[in-house]
Symmetry: C2
Subunit: 169 residues, 2 copies
Amino acid sequence: MAQTPRPALAGALAPRGQATRTEPAKLAIDDIDRLLIRELVADGRATLSTLAEKASLSVSAVQSRVRRLESRGVIRGYTANVDPEALGQMLSAFVAITPLDPSAPDDAPSRLQHISAIESCHSVAGDDSYVLMVRVGSPRHLEQLLHEIRQTANVNTRSTIILQTFYDK
Amino acid sequence: MAQTPRPALAGALAPRGQATRTEPAKLAIDDIDRLLIRELVADGRATLSTLAEKASLSVSAVQSRVRRLESRGVIRGYTANVDPEALGQMLSAFVAITPLDPSAPDDAPSRLQHISAIESCHSVAGDDSYVLMVRVGSPRHLEQLLHEIRQTANVNTRSTIILQTFYDK
DNA sequence: TCTGAAATCTACATCCT
DNA sequence: AGGATGTAGATTTCAGA
C-alpha cells in the first residue's frame, strides 16, 4: 500500500539531453537501495516483506533490488554476530607487524591467512606494515600466537591489548 | 538419520552425587551449537532446514538451539556485510585517542557514539586510551572527522590510514 | 515493478524418550 | 530437558503482465 508515485516526478527532475552519455552499467545506488542496506545491516535476517513495507514497495521489487546489490558485491554476504567471550575468546588485541627483512617479498597476509585467531588483516600507512585484529583464549595463547605470527611471516610484532569494546557496528 | 546414541554413555560418564550442585543455568555450548554458530557466521541467512541437515537434527531441535544461543547472547544478532567503498566510504583508518586532560572524567565512548563515521571503539592498554576504526569518503572528510573527535571528546588523535583490507572475518 | 500462486520455511503445539 | 512430528501461517520464489 501507499506506493510512491515517483516515475513522472523523476522524469521531470531529470530531463535528459538528446545524447545518452556513456552510461554502460548503471552502478547508481539510490535512496531505496540505501534504505534496504541500512535495514539489512541492522537486521541481516529481515524478511523481504518487512523490507517491502519499510520501502513502500512490493516484495518482488525489493527482492530484485536485494539480489542486484548482492550480485554487484555491494552486499557481500550475511553473518551472525557472535560474542567472542561466550566462545572462550577472552582476549582480543591489535597486532601491528613490520617485516624483519624489508627486501624480502612481502606476502604476510597470505602467509597468515590460515591462522584462525586472526580476525582481520589490514595493510596500513604508518610505522607498521600491517595491523591485525586477533582473538585468543588467554595471555598464554596470545604468546603462542605472536610466536607463530613472527615465525610465519618473518616480522616483528607490537601488540595493543583491547580492554573493552564499546561498540563495533 | 544416524542419531548419536549417547544417553546411556553420558549417564555412565557423568554419575551425579546425591546433591545437585548449584548449576543455575547450564551455560555449556556443545559441538552442535558450535557447528550451528559456524554455519550462521558463514551465512547469516541460512535456513533452519539447511542447518538441520548439516547438524543431522530435526528443524525444531535446531530452532530451539538457535533461539537459546540468541537469548543467551551468544549470537547477538545478524547483519549484512556491506562493501564500504560501494557506498562511497573510500578511506578507512584507525584513530588512536588520548585525553588532553587526564583528570577529567573519561567518557569518550559515549560522547563519540553518535558519530556515524566511527565504526568501532575499543579501550586499549598501551600508549593510547582508545582505538577507533573510522570510515570516510575522502581525506578532506577525515580531517573534518578528526576535528570533530578532538572537540567532542577533548582528546588528541593519532591516525593510521588503512591502505587495503585483506580480510575481515 | 506488480500480481498471484506454488514451493519452501518458520513457529508452535503435541508427543516421545 | 532435549528431540521428533505435524500443521497453520509466513515467506520466498518465479511466472506472466
